[in-house]
Symmetry: C2
Subunit: 213 residues, 2 copies
């Protein structure tokens, strides 16, 4: 019991430090946040933080991972709404991803900096996120197949293809190019086109050389 008690206490301290750090990272960014400030916010010495974290970057990495988790939870929610068709789930998925991406870029600029910095050191964080999004897409596809909405042979490769098609809406850098409103319209156009492909029945119009005018 004693050891459990201690581990829980440890986690509480870790959480307290991370919460304080995140507030400062959000407001001032990674570089302008000092370990001394984080420590002061937690009413402890700077040195004591190092009992709980290896270094500043570890704290930032965990903050970023948490943010990504939160973002993914939004998407998961939309991707599994019981009152929605598979098509609606797919559209919701894409628009939510876009909204998240835009928010990170424009509202949460400091977090975006942090994300850029951390993911350049730990690309596996991004890969894990993409893998999770593709799982969600696959689930939407399987749901669509089960309801008869979609005709899809290979849900894994199709989920990959869909993610590639909508990746541009999940890359904060691209948010520079157009206002959100334009991106929404573009995302909707892409979803419309994808939905046609997904409900494709296989009755391909054969191309006959020279027959049309």
């Amino acid at each position: 019991m004693q050891s459990t008690r201690v581990i829980q206490d440890d986690q509480a301290v870790r959480d307290r430090i991370m919460a304080a750090a995140l507030i400062r990272f959000r407001q001032y960014g990674y570089n302008k946040t000092t370990m001394a400030e984080i420590a002061a916010d937690c009413d402890m010495s700077t040195a004591n933080i190092y009992r709980y974290f290896a270094n500043k970057q570890e704290i930032a990495g965990l903050c970023v991972a948490n943010c990504i988790q939160d973002r993914i939870r939004c998407v998961e929610e939309v991707a599994s709404r019981v009152d929605c068709s598979a098509s609606e789930r797919l559209r919701g998925f894409v628009l939510t991803l876009l909204q998240n991406c835009h928010d990170t870029w424009s509202k949460d600029l400091k977090i975006h900096e942090l994300l850029l910095f951390i993911t350049s050191e730990h690309p596996e964080i991004v890969h894990d996120k993409i893998a999770r999004l593709q799982e969600l897409l696959q689930a939407i596809l399987e749901y669509g197949v089960s309801t008869g909405e979609f005709q899809v042979e290979d849900t894994v490769s199709t989920a990959r293809a869909i993610y590639s098609s909508i990746a541009v809406f999940d890359i904060p850098l691209s948010m520079n190019f157009y206002p959100l409103q334009v991106f929404r319209a573009r995302a909707n156009e892409v979803v419309d086109l994808l939905l046609k492909g997904l409900s494709y029945t296989g009755k391909l119009q054969r191309y006959e050389e020279g027959s049309p005018p």
Copy 2:
């Protein structure tokens, strides 16, 4: 006649300067290339360059625009091959775009730096490029409709949607994430899916609530 003569001479000098500049930009990058070096390569004084260009950035901007032009010409060629079906043209278009993008990133790193720098000052260069690519896509679509390969109502909005879907293959930054081989596979998957959407006949499977098991 005299004035024409002079203008032609002017253009010849401009071309000579730009050629010399491009060689240095390619090898050493924008910052490590000095106006003095460019001038020496052209056997003229530094000051004389300013008779032909407003400043160093203008020279770089024109070099970049030329490079983009060259890249687009490759794509144009593929997009209008007489011996190819519309589907083949579309696939060629995407794979060529990807190849260009990858080359710029990995082989022509210095030019990529330049491109990044110039397009941050002149986003219209990128917008023009995207507009031209969308025109080419539209031409492929119209060709596909004319041969009966594609069923597309609105070629303009569909061309936009296709560009959005494949934009990730046209963003040098993304070349970091996977090797070219993987990107090629992804691009092919996306094209496969898009082609299904394009040849979609409109006979949509209706989703009937609760009817499947």
